[in-house]
Symmetry: C2
Subunit: 228 residues, 2 copies
DNA sequence: GGCACCAGAATATGATCAAATTCTCAGGTG
DNA sequence: CACCTGAGAATTTGATCATATTCTGGTGCC
């Protein structure tokens, strides 16, 4: 008992200082955002316990969080599933994304540094490459990264949080559409956004963002309509 | 014929059949919205287990949900507390509330029935009474009810959900300010909103809502600044 | 003032109970 | 005779709890 803890060598190679429920949350979140889960698919607690090799309580807590995020859906009876978006949902998401993300772009414009713009360029290049090679997973990751990185400079944690949750809602549907129609078909206004950032023109950034959001979401609407 | 199944549309209206974690969530949510919890106050799992007479797992899940809602805050170490809003947070909340709630008012205007308007009038009368008698708790409840009831007619579940979460964020601070400055001091544009609804004028409703939101939030800003 | 120890709270596991869906098997009908 | 139908069993899955383990923060001693 005197041997409390090995004090100095406590630096474990294990970077996972995070609690289990947090790790499970991150993993599940990524699976939803980047499309390993299909809309309509049932999500079972015990299934995740096996898949993610975690205990029951952490999985439970992660699922509750994701439900609150709108990323998962509680189906009245005790079942949980990935939401299937309808035209009505998409219309609301378009409005919310336009107002919130345009404002984030506006705010980021006046605060972002030249070095940070270059970082966005790097992400956008990776995005272009993913689009060119038809790498759907890469496209989803890089596209999300671009927006998230931009918003991180807006100094608006609450608005960023709202935007993040919106992405969680349409992530699975985005995956479906880009899987079906391919990555090339998606519009991409990121170049315009980067231009606006360089010129430090908030309204131009907001406008470019509005187009990026609207065209992207409209594409999802069309893609899902085709699917029916 | 080959259809799987979905014949029994047995709609269960069993109210007492809610799971424990849902009940705990609702209770805690109400406590936060209507100010039984003070900003900065620590929230412990075991404390809630005793107070709400629930098991540990349900309490845990409810807390996770509330954290995801932004109603509670995870303090890095394993502590959870009620968030304390700063001027920056309030500024973001004002923007988000204005855009989202004005849109909800706009959408509700064209869909709400005369009978439903009367229901709002009833709520607003109760609100006036609470203001007149200085009933802080009643003021908070009726004010929330008015907005929620209005938004329920907008046929926009996602936007309503976002608005709901915003209320959870500033609920505790609203309580602090109204407790300190009294209920009379709060502006109230609900009469203008009701007028706009009767005239079926969406833009007028949105404008009245914008004033209600802005003046109310500005009042919170002033109240918190005085507190410091 | 720093360090070891301790109390208490949070995290995480597995077991147990309850509910719901699915499966199966008769029985009846065209 | 084949097929639809439905009641009930069986299985899967969710909800809850009791308990063990780990971590944090404070306290008292040197």
């Amino acid at each position: 008992m005197t041997e409390t803890t090995s004090p100095p060598a406590a630096v474990q190679e294990n970077p996972a200082k995070l609690p289990a429920h947090e790790i499970v949350y991150q993993k599940l979140r990524a699976q939803i955002l980047f499309g390993e889960l299909v809309p309509g698919q049932a999500v079972t607690i015990q299934g995740l316990v096996e898949t993610l090799e975690a205990g029951m309580t952490p999985v439970r807590e992660a699922i509750r969080r994701l439900i609150s995020d709108g990323a998962l859906m509680f189906q009245g009876n005790r079942r949980v599933s990935v939401p299937l978006l309808g035209p009505q949902d998409l219309e609301e998401l378009i409005f919310a994304r336009k107002t919130i993300e345009c404002e984030l772009a506006r705010r980021a414009t006046s605060r972002i540094s030249t070095a940070d713009i270059e970082e966005l360029v790097t992400i956008d290049n990776a995005l272009d490459k993913a689009i060119a090679t038809g790498d759907v997973a890469g496209y989803l990751v890089q596209n999300y990264s671009f927006h998230t990185a931009l918003y991180s400079h807006a100094n608006a944690p609450i608005l960023s949080d709202i935007a993040d949750r919106l992405w969680l809602r349409f992530g699975p549907s985005l995956r479906v559409v880009s899987g079906r129609l391919g990555t090339q078909s998606f519009p991409d206004r990121h170049k315009d956004i980067l231009d606006a950032l360089r010129r430090q023109d908030p309204e131009m950034a907001a406008l470019a963002m509005e187009r990026d959001v609207f065209e992207g979401m409209e594409h999802v609407v069309q893609g899902l309509r085709a699917a029916n």
